[in-house]
């Protein structure tokens, strides 16, 4: 356990080195946020009934942009991908620690580090934006607590899902293609392209059947007050079930994948 903890610390501080990338990320997210809000504003001008109030939607956009790196399922760890291509992974298999948790920690720490640098400035900037374009506080204190719980559980779930994608990379040399396909599909069903309440009913049903919305859609909509306490509490249970399922799949899968691993060359 101690070795995993120190490994986490190490990866976290490595991740913190990329300040320049973080600044570029924040700028991108602010631009994107403003653009999305202006697009929705134009839609809302039509005055038809909407599944989210304006203030809720604006907060949804900003919280989504602020937590982009934290919730986005396309986090790429160059080391892991490279270790699979070069065969370096065989050294890791020799080490006396479980490869599943080793990677898990690596992904979690890297993702956390890259998001902390973006999250804090983003939240500050977004709340400073005046009037009806800025980030609002959650409606109640309960909503805030439930938001934090579901967000963290969603993060754990996102790493477990990401792990399955990484293990799939054992079977292909085309990491880029497979990885990007997985990212696009999961992001869409998580509500990353369009908030789920705006989708047609049939699509919403699919989104609810899949685990991905528990990572973005659920915590964000709890934060803005679009999902009430009862539904939030039920969803926490669903999150836990999915975490168990995906972790079991991932660790069973990695054993199967490593058993038939062949390293080419000497």
């Amino acid at each position: 356990m101690k070795s995993y903890l120190s490994f986490f610390k190490l990866r976290f501080s490595v991740g913190l080195q990329y300040r320049f990338a973080a600044i570029a990320g924040v700028l991108t997210q602010i631009f994107w946020g403003f653009m999305l809000i202006m697009i929705y504003e134009a839609y809302y001008r039509a005055g038809i009934e909407t599944p989210m109030e304006w203030a809720q939607l604006v907060s949804y956009v900003w919280i989504g942009q602020s937590l982009f790196a934290f919730t986005y399922l396309g986090y790429k760890d160059k080391d892991i991908i490279e270790s699979l291509v070069t065969g370096q992974v065989s050294y890791e298999l020799v080490r006396p620690s479980n490869l599943y948790w080793f990677w898990y920690i690596k992904l979690a720490a890297g993702k956390l580090a890259s998001s902390v640098l973006r999250f804090i400035p983003m939240i500050i900037i977004a709340s400073l934006i005046p009037g009806e374009y800025g980030l609002n506080a959650p409606p109640t204190f309960t909503a805030l607590i439930l938001f934090i719980i579901t967000l963290l559980l969603g993060f754990i779930l996102s790493i477990a899902i990401l792990m399955i994608v990484y293990i799939l990379l054992f079977y292909t040399v085309s990491s880029r293609g497979l990885f990007n396909i997985a990212t696009v599909i999961t992001d869409f069903f998580a509500g990353g392209t369009v908030p789920i309440p705006f989708m047609p009913i049939a699509l919403q049903t699919i989104c609810y059947a899949l685990p991905f919305r528990l990572i973005m859609d659920l915590p964000f909509r709890i934060y803005v007050g679009n999902i009430g306490t009862t539904e939030a509490l039920q969803s926490i249970l669903i999150q836990i079930v999915w975490i168990v399922i995906t972790t079991l799949i991932g660790s069973a899968f990695i054993n199967k994948a490593t058993r038939r691993l062949e390293v080419q060359g000497g």
Binding site: I23, M38, Y43, R45, T172, N180, P200
Partner: protein
Amino acid sequence: MSLYLKSIWMKLKCDAQYKISFILITLSTSLYSLVSILGIWILLDKFGSIDGWTRSEVMLTTSLALFGHAVVEMFGRGLDHFHKQVNNGLLDRILVRPRNITLQVLCSDFEPSKIGRIIEALAILIYGIVTVNIKWTPYKIFTLLLMITGSMTLFFAILLLKASFSFWTIEGMEAMNIISDGGRELSSYPISIYSKWFANIFTFIIPFGCINYYPLLYILDKGNVPVWYSLTPLAAVIFLVASYGVWTIGLKQYKSAGS
């Protein structure tokens, strides 16, 4: 030109060696833009229209933004990775060869996997043209061709500008992607939906609005605009001249990073 075609052919032959990989990458880039089109489609389905533009009309603006971007991503890959060539000294090798430098940089890479995006852009362009009721005249067809050319010109100019910056800095090139990716995304919608100041920036400084919105007003007979609106895609040429200027200045003052 024959040199360029030859280098493309070589790259194609290379990629063909990894069939599954190539198919997966093509699928993934196509899926990415398909989802963003789907997002626009879903919202227009929900709201009916945006700022008086119907779904078919918005598909026209979207297709023009996507088309130019995809074509330039396909053929301009070398410029996109130019900062790497500056960084690893490959540029010095290019400079000593007795050939056009810009051409050589363009020859250095080619990305056939963007073909999926180009097809998607053409598909929604055709969808738009078929479903919108346009009173076609020969001049309107000319305007449409002008828009398509303008879209490619503008995205190429932005790429050239991005590459030029690597003469001064090779860090933070991601930030430059805001302009090309952001530009594609924002000009997917008619530029008029945005706040005045925002629309002005992307009309007069980086003329995204000029490649689809203004000429479309003319083609669709919206709001009785004067005929010269059909010529606004030419603004992309002005932008290209400007970024080519920056590129030449950069090349002239370039000093190699050493051994």
